[in-house]
Amino acid sequence: MKNLFLSPERIIRRSYQRELVFRAVGLVVLVAGLLQLPVLFFACTTWQDYQARTDKQAQLVAAENELQNRLVAFKDTRQKLSQIQQWEPIIRGRLPCSAVLAAIEQTVPADAVLEKVALESSRYQALPVAGGTYRVPEVYTLSIQGSLRFGHAEELETFTNELKKHLPAGAQVVRSKLLEGPESLVPFLLVYAITPTGNYSPLGVQRIADPDRL
């Protein structure tokens, strides 16, 4: 049937307006267009965030430069601190022998007499220092030979424990035994293994870093 009342343009326009396919296309375009709003919103916020963080980065870099400039003023102190840190294991590993001898003097029982005291370092670790190495012992062996008056043999245990209390933490009793001897005296042998830990406060030693009390 011929359409005598409508022009072809009008038919085409009506076809675009009413046909399902074109409506679907319109819907797709409309949805895509509407989705531009959140996309635009997120794009704006992202851009703002990016700008804010870029500004912050610039501030942080400026702060870093300023800190580095301030740090230059402390270059000498830093170098000294670094040198002290290099020396630190050497000082920490040094057992104050005089304090050990003083501890023996303080704890030895009145009924004991000492014949020989030996303090010897062993198991060295070579630490790097400027120009070479320096050996630091890992263990000190303290051996004490002496005698107790006859009838006071039990004082060896007291002496052993009392001296151990005065030695640095980690000191171990390796041997504590009574030996054969003349009737009037009971010889003994006492051996400790002492690991230098750097904390010698039980020996009554002041820390090197502490201000001098004198």
């Binding site: 375009v29 794009a43 942080l60 870093e64 601190l81 304090a99 020989k116 370092s121 190495t133």
Partner: protein
């Protein structure tokens, strides 16, 4: 009909492609923001660390310098020919060739009457080693001497301390007891 299908398909593809591209750009933007945020946090932590270090150095400057001076003075005093001349008493036959190393660190021992002898130093070790001995010191004089030397040189190591009562002195004797003393002393040297 074919045209309509192509038109619909084309519209969907273009819309989806456009949206996909926008989402991709958004995701890239978020990633960039996140990376920037991480970098800033890292930088902030580093700045705080440096600031803490500066503050620590500022507060501890006097202590660090005092400690350094104390330690390095020990080194200089022990090593150089320096202004600290050793009193070369007959009791101290320091007959090493490198007498430039005769140091204040052992001067205290020689002055106290110990006989001091340098010994060979292992290769690569920055030290001078001495063996010292005496039979003229009592315990109550020896301990302060060792303490004094240990305090004077913080790098002074006694590798061996051997004290023994002479056989001629009976146990529990109240007479003065001069101990047989043998020491191995090691000092850190500078370059």
């Amino acid at each position: 009909m074919k045209f309509k299908a192509i038109f619909l398909f084309g519209a969907i593809v273009v819309s989806a492609g456009w949206l996909g591209l926008e989402l991709k750009l958004l995701a890239d933007g978020w990633t960039a923001v996140r990376l920037l945020d991480q970098a800033n946090k890292k930088q902030e932590t580093a700045n705080n660390h440096v600031e803490g270090e500066i503050e620590g150095l500022r507060v501890s400057k006097a202590r660090i310098e005092a400690l350094y001076t104390r330690l390095s003075d020990t080194m200089i005093a022990s090593r150089g020919t320096s202004s600290l001349h050793i009193n070369s008493t007959p009791m101290a036959p320091l007959n090493s060739d490198g007498s430039a190393f005769e140091a204040a660190g052992i001067a205290g021992f020689t002055q106290a009457g110990l006989i001091v002898q340098p010994v060979r130093v292992p290769n690569g070790e920055m030290s001078i080693i001495y063996e010292a001995g005496t039979a003229s010191l009592e315990f109550h004089r020896l301990v302060p001497l060792l303490a004094e030397q240990e305090n004077a040189d913080l790098f002074l190591y006694f590798d061996k301390v051997l004290l023994s009562r002479p056989p001629s002195i009976p146990p529990f004797s109240t007479d003065p007891t001069y101990l047989d003393t043998r020491l191995t002393i090691r000092l850190l040297t500078g370059k």
